[in-house]
Amino acid sequence: MDLYLPIANLSVNALVIVLLGGGVGLLSGMLGVGGGFLTTPLLIIYGIPPTVAAASAASQVTGASVSGVFAHWRRGGVDAKMGGVLVAGGILGSLAGAQLFRLLQSVGQIDLVIGVVYVVMLGWIGSVMARESIGVIAVARGRRAAPAARRRHHPFFASLPFRTRFYKSGLYISPLAPLLIGFGIGILTILLGVGGGFILVPAMVYLLGMATSAVVGTSLFQTLFVTAIATMVHATTTKAVDIVLAGLLLLGSVAGAQVGARLGTKVRPEYLRLGLSIVVLLLAVRILLGLVWRPEAIFTVELA
């Protein structure tokens, strides 16, 4: 079923886009990641112009996280205070990121920087998460003795002043810690065109030491607001938000997110983290190959 996209200026198979949204939504509901890091590259592979892909994927991630946030909220899995601080940091970060983006774009190396940052971030997060979750699984199966109790949170974050209590996260830390993390995610959101959940989830677990029950919900909460802001930024600056494309993606992803959220409660969190780490590592390898292998098109064209 072919449908013409008025902003992307081309026609696509509507069913393929809905299914793509569905698959990404499933992951997003299960793992608490927005899925933008999958949607954007997949849309580009399908032939959608990169700016339109990034801009429209952002609004798809908003939709997928809304249903996730509602689902987790009812379960008490959203720390609104923590989420609010992360969003505040995210807004500041996206403003800084927009400047950086413009600078890199004028030099013509934005694609390279995106690729390298992806490989480094994904490779690092994926391997840390995989090692940790495999360790937990081994302990649970009785093959290995439980390791000595670890520090609750990273010493740098523990040393920050103005400590306050985040009840649902089970933390007593400085709000500067999530603010800094939110700021970093904000930069990445603009730079990579993703919600940042795949970085935020491990950051909350391993840097802040948050209670696992609140991690996914709070991450979705932050993703919801940051992607909504990103959509507005794109709509007013690049004018690349294709509402028809976003609608198709949304149809699939909101349904997928519901199924994913239900599946997510049935699976043990360490298995979820292992699954996410495998997806993340595979993607890192794929992007690395893209940088190293001779590209199919040596020349690229952009409107000037």
Partner: protein
């Protein structure tokens, strides 16, 4: 418009010389192409008649050929070339073009290289290799050639630049017709369909018709809203995603 002036001058040239040369009467199946939700590209039929002086087919002369060229609106583009640096492919050299056609399709009754020489091809921009792309920055000729080949190859693979020898049918030496398909991913704007009558390596006659490609109905409404009411459009996009997400959650709780 400079080119159209040149074509007009060439059209007039035979008349000035006082020689009776054939005249082209071209037409296009559609003067306007409307893009709606189901648009997957358009197929244009370019047809017409060759009027010979005295209404008689010339006898014993070289065969007459017809070439049809459809061009999209020109764009200012920046082409970048990747190079391997320290094991990674990075953008290195770049070249800016002031006016590259966004779409170029050529249909001819015989392969264009057999009809006219290289100089004539360059004058009339006949063939994807003869496009006058006018680079904005000065670069050595070999670099320009490399970039032009790269650009043409890229657009050819995207179906935006296309050559179809033998695609023009000429019936009884008088009526001609050709089909040119325009893919869905062309930009909107004014397209031109140029028809050339060629004999003995010379362009005897040429004619131009305009074709407007534009969005209609809902598609035009969306494109306009995104452009003119950006903030409202963005808010609608966010509201749509929140609403759909919330609705899915509401439905899922009741199943």
């Amino acid at each position: 418009m400079r080119r159209r002036g040149a074509i007009a001058a060439l059209l007039a040239a035979p008349l000035l010389l006082g020689q009776a040369k054939p005249v082209l009467v071209p037409d296009v199946s559609q003067r306007e192409v409307e893009i709606a939700y189901s648009f997957t590209g358009a197929e244009l039929l370019l047809f017409g008649a060759i009027l010979y002086p005295g209404g008689r087919l010339p006898q014993g002369e070289a065969p007459t050929d017809v070439v049809v060229v459809v061009k999209g609106p020109t764009e200012s583009i920046l082409v970048r070339e990747k190079e391997k640096v320290a094991g990674i492919w990075v953008n290195a050299e770049r070249l800016r073009y002031r006016s590259a056609p966004s779409f170029y399709a050529l249909a001819s009754s015989r392969p264009i290289a057999r009809l006219v020489d290289e100089r004539t091809r360059a004058i009339y921009e006949l063939g994807v290799d003869s496009l006058q792309l006018s680079p904005a920055s000065s670069a050595p000729a070999d670099v320009q050639g490399r970039f032009q080949d790269g650009l043409v190859d890229l657009r050819r693979r995207a179906g935006l630049y296309h050559e179809a020898p033998h695609a023009v049918e000429i019936t009884d030496g008088v009526l001609y017709r050709a089909r040119v398909s325009i893919p869905a991913r062309v930009p909107v704007g004014r397209f031109t369909a140029e028809t050339f009558l060629i004999r003995d390596g010379h362009v005897l006659a040429a004619a131009v018709r305009d074709i407007d490609i534009r969005k209609s109905g809902f598609e035009r409404f969306v494109a306009r809203a995104a452009d003119r009411h950006a903030i409202l459009y963005g808010l609608v996009a966010v509201a749509l995603s929140v609403l759909l997400g919330w609705a899915a959650g509401w439905i899922a709780r009741r199943i």
